[in-house]
């Protein structure tokens, strides 16, 4: 099981390789439990708003494949659950219902 900071470094490296150096602003990783009750990793990748409509599916899939392979190659078996947000969306997270 890798340290969270090492996982975050891997996420940023893999995401930048897949989405481009300007396609990633930051990443947040935290331990969680998946719907099956197993330990998992919540991975949030923050992307610039102007890239949201430009990112292609091939790059997103490459990111998913490479991230799992890199984590597994370093002995990390927890499932990464990858989500995305823009800085603007994170700043607007105020209303818990709407």
């Amino acid at each position: 099981m890798l340290e969270i900071e090492r996982i975050r470094e891997i996420v940023v490296d893999v995401a930048r390789a897949s989405l481009g150096p300007l396609g990633v602003e930051s990443a947040v990783v935290e331990p969680t439990v998946n719907a099956d009750g197993d330990d998992a990793l919540r991975v949030m990748i923050v992307v610039p708003a102007d890239t949201v409509h430009r990112v292609r599916g091939d790059a997103l899939i490459r990111l998913l494949v490479d991230l799992r392979e890199k984590l597994e190659s370093e002995g990390e078996r927890r499932e990464p659950i990858v989500e995305y947000a823009t800085p603007e969306e994170l700043a607007a997270d105020v209303d818990p219902e709407s």
């Binding site: 998946n34 719907a35 998992a40 992307v47 708003a49 949201v52 409509h53 990112v55 292609r56 599916g57 091939d58 997103l60 899939i61 998913l64 494949v65 799992r68 499932e79 659950i81 990858v82 989500e83 995305y84 947000a85 823009t86 969306e89 994170l90 607007a92 997270d93 818990p96 219902e97 709407s98």
Partner: protein
């Protein structure tokens, strides 16, 4: 029987996350879009399975529906877990394609697993907040995964489907 078109699920998902006149799309719409992205891949495998076993020309039969409904989400997860591995486990090697699954199928499997994780959260977990970027990327991921699935050689899709329908037993049991 009215076969669901997986591509229509993605079009529905995109409609759900079109920004309203003010503010972001509703949480229920973003969650539904993410769920639909996963379901487009799930249903594509159900169609492939029933087409393989019963036949496309028999889509209006009860037998077709029987096969279609026999596959659950757990079976798809297990098959994707197997298919994305660099080497098939010995229990599956005999039934898999010669040389294992190609990258197009592995990419499909990895995408389905990733979208499954998000779909379970979107459908059942009240805690996380979902965002438009997340839904748009889920749709884009699913659309590309569907393209890869459809472009995969027939023997690769067929091997995936047989392993989806039938789980090899351990020879010692």
């Amino acid at each position: 029987m009215s076969i669901l078109n997986p591509e229509h699920l993605l079009e529905q998902a995109e409609r759900l996350v079109v920004p309203p006149p003010a503010g972001p799309p509703r949480q229920v719409d973003i969650r539904r879009a993410i769920s639909s992205a996963y379901y487009s891949l799930f249903h594509s495998t159900l169609i492939a399975a029933a087409d393989t076993v019963v036949g496309q020309v028999h889509r209006n039969t009860a037998r077709y529906a029987l096969v279609y409904r026999s596959i659950d989400h757990g079976a798809l997860k297990s098959t994707c877990d197997i298919a994305r591995q660099a080497q098939l486990p010995s229990s599956h090697r005999l039934y898999g394609p010669d040389g294992g699954f190609l990258p197009v199928i592995k990419d499909f499997a990895t995408s389905a697993l990733a979208l499954r994780g998000r779909r379970l959260m979107a459908d059942y977990d009240p805690m996380p907040r979902f965002r438009t970027a997340d839904a748009l990327f889920a749709v884009e991921t699913a659309r590309t995964a569907l393209r890869k699935w459809n472009q995969a050689p027939a023997d690769q899709r067929s091997a995936f489907v047989w392993l989806l329908l039938f789980r090899p037993r351990d020879a010692t049991r």
